[in-house]
């Protein structure tokens, strides 16, 4: 066995009922034979919807090819790091708080704060939307890719207009759908960014779990678009 230290898992989710209308929507697609692998990056309609939502929130206008659907924000970060060239011991700069610190530790990442002397070889800067760090005021002069972890914020009511400054053209955003009713049971997340970068990340999403569960993707689409998703 690897010498990586086991860490007790600690994940919990709200016990929220699933809306009947969502289940009826799922039934319709399952009955139509949608029980197979989805397109590897995710159902195109869902990816387009995410891209549009990001654009409404301040990101550049992009299409479905700028988005990958994942199993939660954790998987989104994991495949993003691999797509950016992460390997054992790679340095990741963290600007402010990091709710994925346990993942970085398990992967043997060298985590350093922004501005530390040894950040020259880092592959990316990680930031969180709710971090005390102020976006746009602490630029990374080494031009490394910036990963912005939105968590539930993109699909929550508390999106603030000034958050939009975090969604610049070179940024890779990751997040999840857990703010939407019942969606935490479906374990959905996403990666979005420049299509050429997303294409590299996609090879790792596919290598890790092929694609995300089809019913979960449909549930996310329904939660975002309601009856219009039909």
């Amino acid at each position: 066995m690897s010498n990586r230290e086991p860490v007790p898992p600690d994940v919990d989710y709200a016990d929220v009922p699933i809306p009947d209308s969502m289940l009826e929507y799922l039934e319709k697609y399952l009955a139509a034979g949608e029980t197979h692998y989805t397109p590897r990056p995710g159902i195109p309609e869902l990816r387009s919807t995410i891209a549009n939502k990001l654009h409404e929130s301040g990101a550049p206008k992009r299409g479905a090819d700028s988005v990958i659907v994942t199993h939660g924000e954790g998987e989104a970060l994991f495949v993003t790091l691999l797509g950016l060239g992460f390997k054992d011991g790679t340095t990741v700069v963290v600007d402010g708080e990091c709710r994925h610190r346990r993942l970085l530790d398990l992967l043997n990442a060298s985590v350093v704060p922004l501005g530390a002397a040894m950040t020259g070889n880092a592959i990316a800067v990680y930031r969180e939307l709710d971090s005390p760090a102020k976006f746009g005021t602490r630029g990374d002069t080494n031009k490394r890719p910036t990963i912005v972890a939105l968590g539930t914020s993109l699909f929550a009511d508390r999106w603030r207009q000034h958050d939009s400054c975090s969604l610049g053209a070179a940024v890779v955003t990751i997040g999840d759908f857990n703010a939407l009713d019942g969606l935490d049971h479906f374990r959905m997340g996403f990666v979005a960014g420049p299509p050429d970068t997303v294409k590299r990340i996609q090879t790792w999403k596919q290598a890790f779990s092929i694609c995300s569960a089809g019913p979960s993707q449909r549930a996310a689409l329904f939660a975002l678009e309601g009856e219009a998703a039909s």
């Binding site: 066995m1 690897s2 010498n3 990586r4 086991p6 860490v7 007790p8 898992p9 600690d10 994940v11 919990d12 989710y13 709200a14 016990d15 929220v16 009922p17 699933i18 009947d20 289940l23 799922l26 039934e27 399952l30 009955a31 034979g33 949608e34 029980t35 197979h36 692998y37 989805t38 994942t70 199993h71 939660g72 954790g74 998987e75 994991f78 992460f86 390997k87 054992d88 994925h100 993942l103 398990l106 019942g182 935490d184 049971h185 479906f186 374990r187 090879t203 790792w204 596919q206 290598a207 890790f208 779990s209 092929i210 694609c211 995300s212 569960a213 089809g214 019913p215 979960s216 549930a219």
Partner: protein
């Protein structure tokens, strides 16, 4: 991360995807390429999931719902004579691919050798490479129907840390029978090699041959991680449910990774897996009968063209040698697709030296398989010297 291993895996996948893209751009292509069952998941399975979701939606532990783990353990006990503690020795994952990737991250340290029979399911290469492992290929051949033999293990992988064994095999369809598995176990017991026994096709074994789990062999339980899932046996690829069964301490390490990366498998998918196990016997018989008929049609067609192939004892693939037609397999596949509208995958995407071999899937209706073979026969007539 082992760059060469990762790159090889990416290249192999890319080769298959280029062909699939070409196939998607044409009309009336019969796809015998991908490993995605053409058959839909039986309605009873997803209806069961819908009913459960209406009743309640509890949070799931990272390792999976207790009800599902108990059902998996019960199945092992009844059909494989293996006893697993559902609380500590079973972990539900987002499909077999995630199960293998997490296992490699937890098991392999940089520089470790990971042995695999050659040809191999190359989609695992990136997982091995990401963990820093190096692949040690163990040659197999048609003479021995591509089965891994103890003497091959001894010669080619004496210093491997891990053996990844897919039985029945993807891509060859080879089945190592009970005697063969026991002989491997005897050899493995004399080494320090840990085994990842990928039994994702355990529900698709032909001719009534009993499947032998490696972990059920004397002395192997402690050194074997068994990987399986619902995608192939129950045609549930879209639900993404797999699982690992094995040592509790090892699974705790995998669970820690899973908690940080992807969390629990989606509840709806887990409920569908529980329903599948409730339909177990009927669903298995239904699919096995269909695949058995397709396999017979495939063997008849290949025999009529004089194409050598490995005997498919299980799984959903046939591994065939097309060298007699004067083309390497890659050109054979491109030309067959362009001229006859039949998609097969070239052997090179499953190992460097398989330039004359193709992987053909059984995942199309029987009449379409027959038509694909007729088209192939017309195509090869123009290539026969």
């Amino acid at each position: 991360m082992t760059h060469d291993t990762v790159k090889k895996g990416e290249q192999a996948t890319s080769l298959r995807y280029k062909l699939m893209e070409l196939a998607a751009s044409r009309e009336n292509v019969i796809s015998l390429g991908r490993g995605d069952p053409d058959l839909d998941t039986p309605a009873e399975i997803w209806q069961g999931a819908l009913s459960r979701m209406k009743d309640r939606a509890p949070s799931s532990p990272v390792r999976g719902l207790a009800e599902l783990r108990e059902a998996i353990a019960r199945r092992y006990s009844e059909q494989n004579e293996l006893s697993f503690d559902p609380e500590h020795e079973i972990l539900v994952t987002n499909g077999g691919q995630e199960a293998l990737f997490l296992t490699m991250l937890a098991l392999v340290d940089p520089g470790d050798k990971v042995a695999t029979p050659d040809p191999r399911y190359s989609s695992y290469d990136q997982a091995i490479g990401a963990a820093g492992g190096q692949i040690a290929e163990i040659p197999t051949d048609l003479e021995h129907n591509f089965a891994l033999r103890p003497e091959d293990l001894r010669v080619h992988a004496p210093d491997a840390k891990v053996l990844v064994l897919v039985n029945p095999s993807n891509p060859t369809g080879s089945l190592i029978n009970a005697d063969g598995v026991k002989a491997l176990a005897k050899e493995l017991k004399q080494t320090g090699i840990l085994v990842v026994s990928d039994e994702i096709y355990e529900g698709i074994v032909y001719d009534g041959t009993p499947i032998q789990s490696l972990a059920a062999c004397d002395g192997m339980r402690e050194r074997t991680i068994t990987l399986a899932g619902f995608s192939k046996t129950y045609a549930m690829t879209g639900f993404r449910v797999g699982y690992l069964a094995g040592d509790a301490g090892f699974l705790r390490a995998v669970e820690a990774l899973k908690a940080s990366i992807s969390g629990p498998c989606p509840l709806f998918s887990q409920y569908a897996a529980i329903s599948a196990l409730e339909q177990d016997k009927a669903a298995r018989e239904y699919f096995l009968n269909i695949y058995s008929a397709r396999r017979q049609a495939m063997m008849r067609g290949l025999d009529s063209m004089g194409i050598p192939y490995g005997f498919p004892g299980g799984g959903v693939f046939v591994w065939a040698n097309v060298s007699k037609f004067g083309l390497d397999a890659e050109n054979f596949c491109y030309q067959l697709l362009e001229k006859s509208g039949v998609l097969m995958f070239p052997g090179r995407s499953f190992g460097d030296k398989w330039k004359n071999w193709v992987r053909i899937s059984l995942l199309a209706p029987e009449d379409r398989i027959v038509e694909a073979l007729e088209r192939t026969a017309t195509f090869v007539q123009s290539k026969t010297p």
